[in-house]
Symmetry: C2
Subunit: 421 residues, 2 copies
C-alpha cells in the first residue's frame, strides 16, 4: 500500500484497502466488517473497524485542518510524529497509550488498539461521571514520559537525534505557538468568545500588560526549551477512560519542550471542568460533589506527578544531568535533593503558567471545550467562562508566587463562591 | 577532491592537493608557496599558506582530539558545523568572522581568510597589550549573532530546521557538557590543577553543594534551552585582534543554547585575565593600568551586548516571540520594554552562572588558559588562580543576586586587594 499515493480512506474503501493488515485480527471476510467514521477531533479521520474476532481503530491524517477545512493545509507528516510519540510513550509508561498494530507513513495512517467501552474523558467531565484512580494514572504518565524522555534519563546522543527528528513537527507546533500563546491576547481573526457577555473581561485581559508578557515568556519556553518529549496536547479530550482505566491518545502535537507543559495543560482542563459544573446544575449544589472531585483530580495529578518524578529522580537518574558521580557518589545525597527541589519548583511555576494560558485559549481562541460550549444558556456559560479566565490570569501572572496547589484551590473556591464581581 | 577519502594534510602535500583552489588567490606556482602548520589549539590542523599575491588559512579537522591524541576520537563533521556557523555569523554580524573561500566536507577542510598581522587576543592579555574598541565589537557580535539566531528574529521553521542540523554536533557538545559542567566538580581522570597549592580550595569547591547544584542547573540550560545559535567556545583564544579590529574564529562548538552562554564565557575570560596580571608583574603595581582595562572590557562587553540587544529588540523583533502585534500594535510599547527587561535579567543571571563555571573549568579541568599556565612561579600562579576560583563560585552560586556588573567588579577588586585569606 505504501507505493500508492496518499488517498483519504472512506467507510466504503477501508475494508478493501486495509484488508491484508486487518483480516487476521478482525476475522474474514472484510465485507462483513462494520466500519464507522467517528472522528470528533479537530484534525483527522478516525474509523472504528469491527469484525467477528475484534476491533481496531484506524486513524488517518487529512491534508488540512478538519475543524477549518482545506483553506488551512496541514502536513500529513503529523501522523509520523504521532506514531513515534506513541512508541516512545509506550516504552516509558507501558499500557497507558493504545498499542500500535501498523503504521503507513505514505498514507499517514495508523492502525491501533480499539479502546472500548472507554469514553473520551471530557464527556464524563461534562456528564458528571467520576473515574477512580484517574489522577494517579495521569500523574504517573506525565512523570514517566517526561522524566524518561529527558537528559535526566536518556543517552544524550539519542535525545539529540530525537530532538532533530521532532524539530520537523513545525506545523503542529505553529498551531500551539499561535493559538495558545498569541491569538487569545489580541483580536486575531480566528478567535471567538461568548459575546457580548465576556466583552468586558476580554478587553481587560487584552490590555493586561503583565499577562501579555507572561504569555510570551511561556511561549519562549514552549518553543525553545527542549527539556523532554511532550505529548503536546494533553487535555481531557486526549484521554479515554473506563472503570478505573485511563488511556492517553492523540500525541500528534509531540515536540520537545519544557517539563511543565503537559502537566500544566492537563491541570487547566480539570480546573475548567470545575468551573463548568454550575452550567449543568438543575438546582444549586447538585454538582457540588462532582465539582469538588474535579479539583481533587487536578491536585492529585500534580501530587502524583511530583511524587513519581521524585521517585524516578532517586532511582533512575542515569542521564548526563545531575549525575550521581557529583552527588550521591561523593556523599552528597542532599545535593541531589536540593537540585530536585529547585527543578520541581521550576516545573511547578511553568506548569501554572501553561495552565493559565490554556484556560484562556479555550475560551478566547479558536478551539473551545465541550464543557463550556454545551452550556446552552449563554449567560450561565459566560459566568463559568469568566471565572476560568480570571483564574487563568491569576495563574499565568502569579505563577512564581503560588506556593502549592492549596493556593490554586483557594483561588478557585473563592471565584466559584463569590463570582467575579 | 571530495571523492578522495579523508586524508590529513601535511605541509608537503598541501600545495599539490589544494593547488586548484588556491592558485588564483595566491599566485602560481604552488611550489613557490610558503606553508606553515601553526595550529596551537586543542583540536585541529591549521596551515598558513602564502604566495606572491596573498595568503589564506587552511583549517582541517583531525579525527581525534589533538590535545589528547588518537585515544580520544572526534568526528570530522565538526568542520561542517564550523562552516555552517561561520556563514550564519557572517550574515548576522558582517565582517566580524573570517571570510570562507572554500569548504570540503569530505576532507573536513575550510579555506578561509588569513587574518594578519592579527594575534590571538589571549596572548595580548598575557603580554599586557590593549586593544581599542574591543568591548564594543565583541558585545555587538554577541548581541547580533544571538538575537538574529533566535525566534526573536528568524522564521521559526528555519530556526527549527537549523536546530535539527546542529543537534548532530553531539561530540563537541559532549566536550562542553563533560569538561565544563561536570568534571571540574569531582576528581575526574582528565582534571589537573596547580598542586598542592590549590588542593585545599579545590576540596572546598567539590564539597560545595550549592555550587555543584548550580553547575548542573546551568548544564541543563546549555543542553536543553535551544534559544539561539551559539558560537559555543567564545573565549579569548577564539578572538584575533589587531589595531582596533577584533575578529571571532573557531565556532566548531556551535550549537543551539541559551542566550547567556557566549557572553558569560567571554566575560569570564576577561575576569581570568584580570586575576592573571599579578603573575607578570616584575614590581607591584606594574600592571595596574592594564589590569583595570581587563575589567573595563568585561564590563564593556556586557554593556554593549545589552545596548545592542535592546536596539535589535526595538527595531528587528520580527520573529514569533513577543510580537509587535501584541504590544506596540496595541498601544502597549511598555509591554515590550517590560518583556525585554525580564529577558535581559534572565540572560544576565545565566551569563554570570556560565562565567562562574568557565572560570572553574579553566583552572580545575582539562583545558587551561595560557595566562595562568605561563606564570612560572607556582605559588604566584596558584594565588591568581585561587582568586578566580573564588569569584567563579561567587558568580555561579549568587548569579540571581548580582544586580549588575558593579557587583562583579566590587567582588573582583576585593579579591585582588585582600587575597583569599
Amino acid at each position: 500500500m505504501s507505493e500508492t499515493p496518499y488517498q483519504a480512506l472512506t467507510v466504503e474503501t477501508l475494508p478493501l484497502r486495509l484488508g491484508a493488515h486487518l483480516s487476521e485480527r478482525l476475522g474474514s471476510p472484510p465485507e462483513s466488517w462494520r466500519v464507522r467514521e467517528v472522528g470528533d477531533g479537530n484534525l483527522n479521520l478516525v474509523f472504528i473497524v469491527e469484525g467477528r474476532q475484534g476491533g481496531v481503530i484506524v486513524k488517518q491524517a487529512l491534508p488540512y485542518v478538519r475543524l477549518v477545512g482545506d483553506a488551512w493545509p496541514l502536513p500529513l507528516k503529523r501522523s509520523f510524529f504521532e506514531y513515534h510519540a506513541l512508541t516512545r510513550q509506550a516504552a516509558r509508561d507501558p499500557g497507558r497509550v493504545p498499542a500500535v498494530y501498523h503504521f503507513d507513513e505514505a498514507q499517514a495512517l495508523t492502525i491501533m488498539e480499539y479502546l472500548t467501552p472507554h469514553r473520551i474523558l471530557r464527556r464524563d467531565l461534562e456528564a458528571g461521571v467520576k473515574h477512580e484512580g484517574l489522577a494517579d494514572q495521569l500523574g504517573n504518565f506525565c512523570a514517566r514520559t517526561l522524566f524518561r524522555g529527558s537528559d535526566l534519563s536518556m543517552k544524550t546522543a539519542e535525545r539529540k537525534a530525537d530532538v532533530a527528528l521532532f524539530a520537523d513537527n513545525v506545523a503542529l507546533c505553529d498551531i500551539t505557538e499561535t493559538l495558545v500563546f498569541t491569538d487569545p491576547y489580541y483580536s486575531a481573526p480566528l478567535n471567538r468568545h461568548t459575546s457580548p457577555q465576556l466583552d468586558g473581561i476580554v478587553a481587560q485581559l487584552r490590555a493586561d500588560v503583565d499577562l501579555k508578557v507572561a504569555a510570551q515568556q511561556l511561549k519562549l519556553k514552549y518553543c525553545n526549551h527542549a527539556e523532554t518529549l511532550l505529548h503536546g496536547d494533553l487535555h481531557t479530550g486526549s484521554i479515554m477512560a473506563h472503570e478505573g482505566e485511563a488511556r492517553v491518545i492523540d500525541p500528534e502535537f509531540a515536540s520537545y519542550g519544557p517539563f511543565g507543559f503537559d502537566v500544566g495543560m492537563l491541570i487547566a482542563n480539570f480546573l475548567m471542568a470545575y468551573f463548568a459544573q454550575s452550567g449543568y446544575e438543575r438546582r444549586p449544589g447538585e454538582r457540588d460533589d462532582f465539582r469538588a472531585w474535579t479539583l481533587d483530580v487536578a491536585e492529585g495529578v500534580w501530587d502524583r506527578f511530583r511524587a513519581e518524578f521524585a521517585h524516578l529522580w532517586r532511582t533512575e537518574r542515569k542521564g548526563i544531568l545531575f549525575p550521581a558521580a557529583l552527588y550521591e557518589d561523593q556523599g552528597h545525597a542532599l545535593a541531589a535533593e536540593q537540585a530536585l527541589a529547585a527543578l520541581m519548583q521550576d516545573i511547578w511555576i511553568d506548569a501554572m503558567g501553561f495552565a493559565g494560558v490554556e484556560m484562556h485559549r479555550r475560551i478566547l481562541g479558536l478551539a473551545h471545550i465541550a464543557e463550556f460550549e454545551h452550556i446552552e444558556n449563554e449567560d450561565a456559560r459566560a459566568s463559568c467562562e469568566a471565572k476560568a479566565l480570571r483564574l487563568g490570569r491569576h495563574l499565568a501572572v502569579n505563577r512564581a508566587r503560588l506556593l502549592g496547589f492549596a493556593d490554586v484551590r483557594a483561588a478557585a473556591l473563592r471565584l466559584e463562591r463569590e463570582g467575579i464581581a
